[in-house]
């Protein structure tokens, strides 16, 4: 059946419900593109024959192939675009450096797109309101209190807070830290906010 490969690509993304990024299915995309090429060649041949010999009975199958071509195009583009949206979400979650296991799932072009997106976002944030700009990937939740109780989930090493004191973030240790300093670490999974 035509288009089956293309739909399989979409299904693959759909199965990853919570916006996770599966490995780039280069093979699948290539197969769809090959199928499109074959369909297109058959169509070209049939169109020529229909024109030269006047065989009107070929027209329905030409139309069918054309619909399949359109559907394949749509599915591939949707697959790629949806992946971009997921990659974009990762920039907001992890900051500008992605963990290695996620980068492993991205194609070279996706890495390139991500780099460009990062750059655009950075220059946008720098341009807000004059000198230093504003990091809008911070302050994701409304602040409730200045300091929060956090627990370390993994060893992170030394960490400096605003007034110059350096603390050691060791696994399972608990600290009372300024919220605006640890927001990113919480999102990266280094710290955990302990609700009291």
């Amino acid at each position: 059946m035509f288009c089956e490969k293309a739909v399989e690509l979409i299904r693959e993304l759909h199965r990853m419900t919570d916006g996770q990024l599966p490995a780039f299915n280069e093979d699948g995309v290539r197969q769809v593109l090959q199928e499109m090429e074959a369909l297109y060649e058959q169509n070209q041949a049939d169109v020529n024959e229909a024109k030269s010999v006047g065989r009107a009975d070929l027209i329905p199958s030409i139309k069918l192939r054309h619909c399949c071509l359109l559907r394949n195009q749509r599915c591939v583009v949707a697959y790629l675009y949806d992946r971009l949206l997921r990659i974009r979400a990762l920039r907001w979650e992890y900051g500008s450096v992605l963990p290695a296991n996620i980068r492993f799932h991205m194609s070279a072009e996706e890495v390139q797109w991500f780099g460009q997106y990062k750059k655009s976002l950075a220059s946008f944030m720098r341009s807000i309101g004059g000198e230093e700009g504003l990091d809008i990937t911070q302050d994701m939740k409304p602040p409730k209190s200045l300091y929060i109780q956090v627990r370390c989930l993994k060893d992170h090493g030394e960490f400096e807070i605003d007034d110059g004191t350096v603390i050691l973030l060791k696994k399972n240790s608990q600290h009372f830290l300024p919220r605006w300093k640890c927001e990113q670490l919480i999102r990266q999974g280094v710290l955990e906010h302990v609700m009291s």
């Binding site: 359109l70 591939v76 583009v77 072009e109 220059s123 504003l134 602040p143």
Partner: protein, 224 residues
């Protein structure tokens, strides 16, 4: 909220060269208004970069003031909190704008292109630059990975058709700030009488966004 602000920043606005003089409390109220409207409206609203700039100035000023306060002063904590809150609102406002720009980028750019001479732009210059880059980046990517390897008649994708438009028919909650009369809420139905309502000042409603969109941009109603 306003107390801490006026204490910190009343002097900055007095010598401000802006035409309209605003107290910091008014400024923050403006920011909150813009923030809520932006957060709840399905489409991108007009940019308020003048408010963003003033708030940024205010924040820098407050930070500087905070540096002078003695360590361990109880007041410092309150001011710190205040700064954090304002920064959250500001970031959240800019974030929701950026999200809409990314989500609807072809439409946003199209609207910018078809904008007449005198009409104000929806996007700030920075947002416009971002949207253009985002468009170019995404288009280049799709072309490089798939489109250029497709048959010649299928190498173009109409982004305007491919990316969904904002849904203007979604419902929004709103509070009326200025009395409105004869608001048409069902303009399409010909056979029925036009469905018209009056909006009392201070009353709250749940309505389709499309019908009250002009009132949101004029500031007569506030989305909540």
């Amino acid at each position: 909220m306003s107390d801490a602000l006026s204490e910190d920043g009343s002097d900055i606005n007095q010598d401000d060269s802006q035409e309209e003089v605003m107290t910091p409390a008014e400024l923050i109220a403006k920011l909150e208004e813009a923030w809520l409207n932006e957060k709840f409206s399905p489409e991108l609203l007009e940019n308020r970069s003048e408010v963003v700039e003033c708030v940024m100035e205010q924040l820098t000023h407050m930070e500087a003031n905070l540096q002078r306060v003695k360590k361990g002063d109880a007041k410092a904590g309150f001011h710190r909190m205040e700064i954090d809150r304002i920064r959250f609102v500001l970031s959240s406002y800019l974030r929701s704008r950026l999200q809409k720009i990314e989500k609807f980028f072809p439409h946003v750019l199209e609207r910018e292109k078809s904008r007449g001479e005198g009409q104000p732009s929806l996007l700030s210059p920075e947002e416009f630059a971002f949207a253009k880059e985002y468009y170019a980046n995404t288009e280049t990517y799709l072309r490089a990975v798939a489109l250029k390897r497709m048959p010649p008649n299928l190498q173009a994708v109409d982004m305007l058709k491919a990316v969904p438009e904002p849904c203007l028919d979604s419902f929004v909650f709103l509070r009326v700030k200025e009395q409105q009369e004869n608001i048409l809420i069902e303009p399409e139905t010909d056979e029925q009488r036009d469905f018209v309502v009056d909006l009392e000042e201070g009353s709250q409603h749940l309505m389709r966004y499309r019908t009250i969109a002009p009132l949101v941009s004029s500031g007569a109603v506030q989305l909540i």
